[in-house]
Amino acid sequence: MMMHASTFDRYQAGESLIHRLDPRVKVVVTVLFILSNVLLPDGAWLAFMLAWGMVVVVNLLARLRWDYALKRSFIALPFALAAVTVIFNLPGQTVFTLNLGPWQLTATDACLIRFSSIVIRSWLSVQMAILLTATTQFPDMMHALRHLRVPQLLVAVISFMYRYLFVLADEVMRLLRAREARSARRPGGGGGGTVLWRAKVAGHMVGQLFLRSYDRSDRVYNAMLARGYQGHFLTLNPHVMQAVDWASAGLAVVFMIVVQIVGHVMI
C-alpha cells in the first residue's frame, strides 16, 4: 500500500484570496510577521492582540475556521519551554519561590512577563507559518524561495526531501511489515530473543534503509544526468505579481507597522 501524501502534507486545498496570492508575497509577509513579533517589547499585550487579530483575519480570508491555526499551533508550544529559565533570573518583585534542595529559585513579576511574552511571540509566529503551509502548495513554495534568492542548493535539498520523504516512508513501512510478518510466536510461548538481539535487528533495519536510500540517490543522479543536468537547477517562473498581490503585501506591511507603533508607544 502506498503511503498517502496527506500523512505529511499540510496543504488544505481551497479557493480563496489567500490561496491565490503569489507565494512570494506569502513567504515574505510571514517572515516579516515573525520579525515584527520579535521586535515587540515585553508585555505589549495590546500589540500581541492585534497581531493575533491579523492571524484570525487570514484564517477567515483563507476560508478556514477562525481557530484553524490556533488548534494546530499547540504542537510547537513545548519548544517554548526552552525559555523557562527566564522565569528565574530577572530582578523584580518576588511572586513565588521554589526550594530545590540546595538551590532556591525566585520568580519575579518581570520574569513572568518576559516569559509569557516569549511564549506568545513564538505562538503567534507558529500560527502564521501554519497558515503559510496550509494555503501554499509545496512546489509553489519552492518557486517562491528560488525567486527570493534563497541559495539554489538549499532549495534543491528541501525539494528532494519533500519528493523522497514519501518514497522513504513507503520503504520503512515495507521493512516493518516484513518484520511483523516473521515475528511469530509458538502457541502459549513468549516472544523469542533478548532485548539486545531485538535492538540489533532494529539497528540493521536502519542500516538497510540508509543503504537503500544511498543507492537510490545514485540512480536519481543518473536520471538527472541522462536528461542533461550539468550542476544547475533551471525552472520556469510561473508567477507574476498582480495588483491584488501588491495590495495585500502593502496592507500587511502597513498593519504590521501599526502593530509596532502600538507595541512601542502605547504599552
Binding site: 512546489p139 537510490r216 536519481v220 543536468y229 550539468q230
Partner: protein, 263 residues
C-alpha cells in the same frame, strides 16, 4: 537464421541499416566494461540499431542489459566506441547526445524527481537551453503523446505506477530524442497498464532499444531481438527466428512465450 556470435564482429549486417543513407541511429563497437569492484559487466559488445528500428534486449538478470544502457548516453564509460546518430560519444558531445538518447530508468521513482509532473517533463528541455515558449510547447506535446495532458500540475507522488511510467516516458519525449532507451518498462504493471504501455510504444514513431523480461511483449512489439548473457551479446536476429530456437532460449534462461501452449 539467427546470428550467433561470441567474440567477433557479426558478419551479417543488422537488419535496418538501409534508411537514412545507411547511417545507423546507434552503433556500439567492441565495448568492454568492468565495475570498480572488478566485476566484468560487458565483454566485447557489438550492436547496431538502424533508424526507426524497434529492438528488444533480453537476457537473465545480471546479464549486463542495464549496464549497456547506461553507456548509451555516457553515464558509464567503458572501453570501446559508441556512436549516436553518427556522433562519437566523447565528453565534448555528451550534452548533445544526452538530448538525443532518451533513457528511461526502471523505477519511475528514480526518474521522477521533481515535485510536479510539469517540472519533471520540463527538466530535460530546460537543461537543453530552449526558450520558455519552446519548453512549454514541448511539455504539452510530450504529455499529449503519452495521453497525460491533464496531469501537468499533479504531484508525482500522488500517481499510480502505470501513470508514473507514462510520465517517465514523457520526461524524455520532451527532449525529442532520436533514440528511446527503456529499462524494463512493463515490469510491475497490471495487465491494463501493461496493455496501454504496449499500445503507447507501438504508436511512438521512434527508434527504440528496450530491455525486458516480458517475452510476450517482445513477440508482439519488436521485430528484432538481442539476447545478452554474462556481459556478451549471444544472439541478434529476427524475433520470430530466435523465439523458435528453444535450445538457445533455454541456454540463456529464457522462455518462449508459447512454451505452455499446445502445439
Amino acid at each position: 537464421m539467427p546470428v550467433i556470435h561470441e567474440t567477433k564482429k557479426p558478419d551479417t549486417a543488422p537488419i535496418a541499416l538501409a534508411k537514412n543513407g545507411g547511417q545507423p541511429a546507434l552503433t556500439v563497437e567492441n565495448l568492454d566494461f568492468s565495475y570498480p569492484d572488478g566485476h566484468i559487466a560487458l565483454r566485447n559488445v557489438w550492436l547496431s540499431v538502424g533508424h526507426g528500428e524497434k529492438v528488444a534486449l533480453v537476457g537473465p538478470n545480471g546479464a549486463g542489459k542495464s549496464t549497456l544502457m547506461l553507456h548509451l548516453n555516457g553515464i558509464l564509460t567503458g572501453n570501446g566506441q559508441i556512436q549516436v546518430a553518427g556522433m562519437p560519444l566523447i565528453k565534448s558531445n555528451l550534452p548533445v547526445i544526452r538530448g538525443k538518447v532518451g533513457l528511461v530508468f526502471q523505477s519511475p521513482d528514480d526518474q521522477l524527481f521533481s515535485p510536479t509532473v510539469f517540472e519533471d517533463v520540463a527538466f530535460g528541455p530546460l537543461h537543453m537551453g530552449l526558450t520558455e515558449a519552446e519548453v512549454r510547447a514541448r511539455v504539452g506535446r510530450a504529455l499529449a503523446q503519452v495521453g497525460m495532458t491533464e496531469y501537468a500540475e499533479r504531484l508525482s507522488h500522488h500517481l499510480s505506477v502505470g501513470e508514473k511510467k507514462r510520465i517517465a516516458i514523457a520526461t524524455v519525449l520532451s527532449m525529442e530524442p532520436d533514440l528511446l532507451v527503456l529499462d524494463e518498462p512493463s515490469a510491475g504493471l497490471d495487465p491494463r497498464a501493461r496493455r496501454s504501455l504496449i499500445n503507447l510504444l507501438r504508436d511512438l514513431p521512434l527508434t527504440m532499444l528496450v530491455s525486458t523480461h516480458d517475452m510476450l511483449m517482445v513477440y508482439e512489439l519488436f521485430p528484432r531481438m538481442v539476447i545478452m548473457d554474462e556481459g556478451r551479446i549471444e544472439a541478434d536476429g529476427a524475433t520470430e527466428d530466435l523465439m523458435s530456437d528453444e535450445v538457445l532460449l533455454e541456454r540463456h534462461g529464457l522462455e518462449s512465450p508459447f512454451a505452455l501452449m499446445p502445439r
